[in-house]
């Protein structure tokens, strides 16, 4: 199943400057592995040694924060859009 992933600027050096890539995955965890398969080293940037997403990264599936879904076990479906966004302050 094809999922579209939006890559933040700091990670585009891994993706040959592509801001958006299409991948096959059935969950967020699966997507991280698929990203690492295509762009070796990317998982180590996204996750800590235990495989948990880094504290300052937010991941959204169809604009919903995965912390409101099932975190890294959140299932993915064909056509879903996943956005990886480093945390920002504001107000």
């Amino acid at each position: 199943m094809a999922v579209q992933v939006l890559i933040p600027t700091p990670l585009q050096k891994f993706t040959n400057d592509e801001a958006s890539v299409a991948l096959e995955a059935v969950s967020v965890d699966g997507l991280i592995d698929a990203l690492d398969g295509r762009y070796p080293g990317l998982k180590a940037r996204l996750c800590d040694e235990a495989g948990k997403l880094r504290r300052f990264l937010n991941v959204y599936v169809n604009s919903e924060d995965i912390r409101f879904l099932d975190n890294q076990a959140t299932p993915l479906n064909d056509g879903d859009e996943v956005s990886i966004v480093p945390a920002v302050a504001g107000g």
């Binding site: 585009q12 604009s63 480093p86 920002v88 302050a89 504001g90 107000g91």
Partner: protein, 460 residues
């Protein structure tokens, strides 16, 4: 209290023996110079680069905000504090302009600032409110009258847009809950920068009009602030704009330190005992602390413990919830409160705010929308200060903490009021009185005055 002041491109060519700037206080007969006149040309920048707050990895001082080589932690500006210490004294600061730029050696800019008179807002001794609450020494730091757009955001935007111009940006942008959009649009207009700003589509009319009047491109996004912020991060990936709260964030956030400096100076070069401030992303809270720490570090003020307490609205209280549960991580929430200006469900600096509250013996508490309205009214009725919902939240939490015994009546306490009530009139419109509609005739007035007296004690 705002004064006009300028930074001429030329400098009067006096220099003191030690190579330090000539100051107004070093009076020469018949010669009047000001510190600002000479300092902007005598001294270079005091910042040296950026550094990850989490892992310490170093970066150059460009437009970036996350530790992209290692851990995605937030980047902070690195200063040469020895250079600052040699350059500044209480006298040099006091001789500076009545704006945040009197502290320019502590701010991350290389050249002349965009100076729209931002900062140096009143610190009001709040005797009436103190008596009402049972406190001895209470002050209101009133950024509801900050220039040019009546919120503390003018501080951070003045710094961010100065730095944006230095880094070569011609278009500036932001994700905003309202006040930041007002400030970015206004100061961009003054600086001649193109501006495109993003807000949630459900903001108060005053915040929307208070942006549109400066004629930026305004995107009202169908979603909450966290969704707006995510969209802006995606836009920032592909458009080469300076987003004040994203890729310019390390510089932007430093502007809030001036709220710490000013309180020290206005208290007669002393630290308070306790501060209460609103928590949205948590950035302001951490930067007030940093401002205090820096003045201690360079010897401008004696060290003493200061307790830090934070205020949230119950309808968006992820930091207060984590604090109450003893957690050091934030579980995001979906905001539902009238306090829209502080309705950030996924606060990036939340963990740091919790750490500061814990380390300083402070508290983080949340109040209901009804308590927020009561807080707005209480501050207005006792001190003549009309604040917006964020300020109502701060006053309501101040009251709650006093009632819970978490603020010692003897402590010198400062409550930070960050925005102006005229921007959020919807919030209080149904909770305050109505005018007596009368004819232009004495009889009509007499009758209405009787009704008014029957309702409440009359002024004499």
């Amino acid at each position: 209290m705002q004064q006009a002041h300028e930074y001429p491109t030329h400098s009067i060519g006096f220099k003191s023996k030690g190579g330090l700037p000539l100051l107004a206080s070093d009076s020469l007969p018949g010669v009047t110079v000001t510190a600002t006149l000479s300092r902007s040309t005598f001294s270079g920048p005091t910042f040296t680069g950026l550094r990850c707050k989490e892992c310490g990895h170093a970066y150059e001082a460009s437009a970036r905000h996350v530790c992209e080589d290692v851990c995605f932690g937030p980047l902070e500006v690195v200063y040469d504090y020895e250079a600052i210490q040699q350059r500044v004294s209480r006298a040099t600061i006091e001789a500076g302009p009545a704006s945040i730029w009197r502290y320019r050696d502590f701010l991350p800019i290389a050249g002349d600032p965009i100076d729209v008179g931002t900062g140096f807002t009143p610190l009001l001794k709040a005797g009436n409110l103190a008596r009402r609450l049972g406190l001895r020494s209470l002050y209101i730091k009133n950024d509801g009258v900050n220039m040019p757009t009546l919120s503390f955001k003018d501080r951070v935007v003045s710094v961010a847009l100065t730095r944006a111009r230095e880094l070569g940006f011609t278009t500036v942008s932001c994700a905003s809950t309202g006040n930041l959009a007002n400030s970015t649009a206004a100061i961009a207009a003054h600086a001649g920068l193109d501006c495109c700003v993003f807000i949630p589509s459900d903001l108060e009319l005053g915040k929307v009009l208070g942006t549109l009047i400066y004629n930026p491109t305004l995107m009202a996004v169908k979603g909450n602030y966290d969704q707006v912020n995510r969209l802006c991060s995606e836009v920032a990936n592909t458009y080469g704009w300076g987003f004040v709260n994203i890729n310019l964030r390390p510089y932007y956030s430093e502007g809030s330190k001036t709220l710490g400096y000013e309180v020290i100076e206005q208290l007669g070069w002393q630290l308070p005992d306790h501060i209460v401030a609103p928590l949205a992303s948590g950035s302001l809270f951490t930067k007030i602390r940093k401002g205090f720490d820096e003045f201690i570090k360079v010897g401008l003020v004696d060290h003493k413990p200061v307790r830090f307490s934070g205020a949230q609205a119950e309808g968006c209280s992820p930091i207060a919830q984590a604090f109450a549960a003893g957690r050091d991580f934030i579980t995001p929430v979906k905001p539902n409160t009238i306090a829209k200006s502080i309705a950030i469900g996924n606060p990036a600096d939340g963990p740091y705010a919790i750490d500061i509250a814990n380390r300083t013996g402070g508290s983080i508490a949340a109040v209901s929308d009804a308590e927020i309205i009561d807080g707005i009214k209480l501050l207005a009725e006792t001190e003549g200060v009309f604040t917006e919902t964020a300020g109502g939240t701060t006053i309501a939490v101040l009251k709650k903490l006093v009632e819970q015994g978490k603020i010692n009546p003897e402590e010198t306490t400062v409550a930070y009021i960050t925005g102006n009530g005229l921007k959020t009139t919807e919030a209080i419109a149904s909770s305050i009185g109505e005018p007596y509609l009368i004819e232009a005739q004495l009889d009509s007035f007499n009758a209405a005055w009787k009704r008014a007296q029957a309702k409440a004690p009359s002024p004499t």
